[in-house]
């Protein structure tokens, strides 16, 4: 997963409404109407959130023209090898920065 994908995933998840939508979809697919029901929010507003989740590859829309059910996408949330790789890349970045911070602290210690 490249940085753009990781960033899209973070953005998708950094919103309580979107997290709630994912929690609902974890129990099974749903229509936009069903997803909108618990929130004081219009369907177009929910659809905006769904677009963000779709772009991050976290949900997909069925092809049934009438209903277009929304479901959790197996991709980013469902493949063991891919998961570890995402997580690893994130923390490798963090720890590389921590290396730099520690190098500075050592230099200060020596002076």
């Amino acid at each position: 997963m490249d940085n753009a994908q990781l960033d899209a995933t973070f953005t998708a998840l950094a919103d309580p409404t979107r997290r709630a939508i994912l929690a609902r979809l974890a129990r099974g697919q749903a229509s936009v109407t069903e997803l909108a029901a618990p929130f004081d929010m219009s369907q177009p507003a929910i659809s905006k959130h769904l677009k963000v989740l779709e772009r991050a590859g976290l949900v997909s829309r069925g092809r049934d023209a009438q209903r277009r059910p929304v479901r959790l996408e197996a991709g980013p949330m469902g493949e063991a090898a891919g998961w570890l790789e995402t997580y690893r890349r994130l923390w490798e970045g963090n720890f590389a920065r921590l290396d730099d911070v520690l190098a500075e602290l050592k230099a200060q210690d020596n002076n």
Partner: protein, 159 residues
């Protein structure tokens, strides 16, 4: 020198990160607990900064982290309390998104001297396998994943 990062899942509920550093445990502990230092490395993907980094480093003390996507303005944050602090050795704290009450995960940082350097083991403990797996999938810390379950519970109650 950049050491290798080990990511392990020794059981269904935990993620272990193991990473070595060319610095003494005292300095690693400092970099993990001083806000001015933490905000320089605990950032996640490129493009995210850390506008809030508050740490009250004592048992029972709280911390608050907040990250921001510099381009979109999207923000999210974590809070938690320190359960155990062993200077230069061990830090145990709870963790949850800052927009919810309760639903904590547990984070353990083990800092051990190894030769002239340090071995850091970061352990995250979750309440369910599903949450642990979601964290792995998204790269986010346990608190966000935990919020799914709480919101799911709320949705079930209000259905």
């Amino acid at each position: 020198m950049a050491h290798d990062l080990d990511v392990e899942t020794p059981n269904d509920l935990e993620i272990h990160l193991i990473r070595r550093f060319d610095a003494l445990p005292r300095l690693v502990f400092e970099a993990l607990t001083r806000p001015d230092l933490v905000r320089r490395w605990l950032l996640g993907p490129d493009g995210w900064s850390m506008p809030v980094c508050e740490i009250d480093l004592r048992v029972g003390g709280a911390y608050h982290y907040r990250w921001r996507n510099d381009e979109s303005g999207q923000e999210f944050g974590f809070v938690g309390e320190f359960k155990e602090i062993e200077p230069f050795g061990r830090i145990v704290n709870s963790e949850r998104p800052d927009d919810q009450d309760g639903g904590d995960s547990l984070v353990i940082n083990l800092i051990e001297a190894e030769g002239s350097g340090t071995k850091l083991t970061l352990i995250q403990q979750f309440e369910t396998k599903a949450l642990r797996d979601m964290v792995l999938a998204t790269g986010m810390a346990g608190g966000v994943a935990r919020s799914y379950e709480r919101l799911d519970e709320v949705l079930v109650e209000t259905a």
